[in-house]
Symmetry: C2
Subunit: 203 residues, 2 copies
């Protein structure tokens, strides 16, 4: 896994264990019963945790379903911090994301794709996902140092949009090894898309 193994204190390990139990239980549970149809109490009963402790670990019901997504992005931001920044910003972002994907383990891919399928089904989760993307745009802009120009802000919006498109293309299959290819394909399509022409519909 990507999480840095910090045995740390017994207390922190225990807290992290309940966090993990909540996240790993939540995704299958929500998938089976539906996100909006599943009361939070169902998860709490399953993991045997009180509401109070849950909300100390996660900000919201949506949050607990997003562990895999947040793991990805926190890793990606670390990669960006360590990367040497030079060249086209779009390439830098794409390569950072590819590096990030390379660091993820097999189990993460399973958890991640399950999360994406879940997000597609629930409007509230979809909204949460979009908000998360917006937050990531801010962080990425800062790290790429392109936040102060129109072109820069447009580019970051564009890159995150491309990332989402790559996920859309990947999801039906969902094979871990295929995601990097989807990312490359979509990023290659970016320059072409501006010349896309409308197709007079004929339904």
């Amino acid at each position: 896994m990507t999480a840095v193994q910090q045995p740390a204190s017994l207390r922190e390990r225990k807290k992290l264990r309940t966090r993990q139990a909540l996240a790993e239980t939540a995704v299958p549970l929500f998938t089976e019963r539906g996100f909006d149809e599943t009361p939070l109490d169902a998860l709490l009963d399953a993991v045997e945790v009180s509401r109070r402790t849950f909300f100390r670990n996660f900000r919201s019901k949506e949050d607990v379903a997003f562990t895999a997504v947040e793991q990805l992005w926190s890793t990606c931001l670390l990669v960006l911090d360590d990367a040497e920044l030079s060249g086209r910003a779009a390439d830098v972002f794409r390569d950072a994301m590819l590096t990030t994907l390379d660091r993820m383990g097999e189990d993460w891919y399973a958890h991640f794709s399950a999360t994406l399928r879940l997000v597609e089904q629930s409007p509230s989760l979809h909204g949460h996902s979009l908000r998360h993307c917006a937050a990531m745009r801010v962080e990425v802009s800062r790290r790429l140092g392109v936040a102060d120009s129109t072109e820069g802000r447009l580019l970051v919006e564009f890159c995150v949009a491309a990332w989402r498109c790559a996920l859309d293309e990947w999801l039906p299959g969902g094979e871990p090894g295929e995601l990097p290819g989807c990312v490359r394909r979509v990023f290659d399509a970016m320059p072409r898309c501006l010349d896309a022409e409308v197709r007079p519909e004929a339904p």
Copy 2:
């Protein structure tokens, strides 16, 4: 205003009047006291409407603050329906949006900019805004007939992102006459943004 004047029946006029009263009261009220800090009951007391009727008119508390935004997009979709679709999809979208803006009245601009300022302050409203944009992407994709290719989906994402950037540039001033200029500027910047280079930060 953009709303088609349909006197219709007395009943419908009455219903529409309460809808309008709610929307026009909501934005200043939320602006003054903060969106999350203002209970819905405060608005209901101000307009003297029961909760039941409120939720028959609006789907959520966020929804009532979005009237101006929805007016814009419903008009824009109508413009797209009537427009002859040919040429580059990005240009078609930009021109449709410019036409739409031209149809809006002075009072709408005031309501709209107030709404945008409100959205910037509240996380939940911001999330609602992003979800609304996603819904509009679907509608625009359908109308432009570009939903079936990677380039097409990328383009629509890109266009809506450009629209949001234009709003960001316009908002500080907020003069009605300046928004079309912002839109043109940002759309002109789209091809350039792909070549944007990272700037080695030096904090």
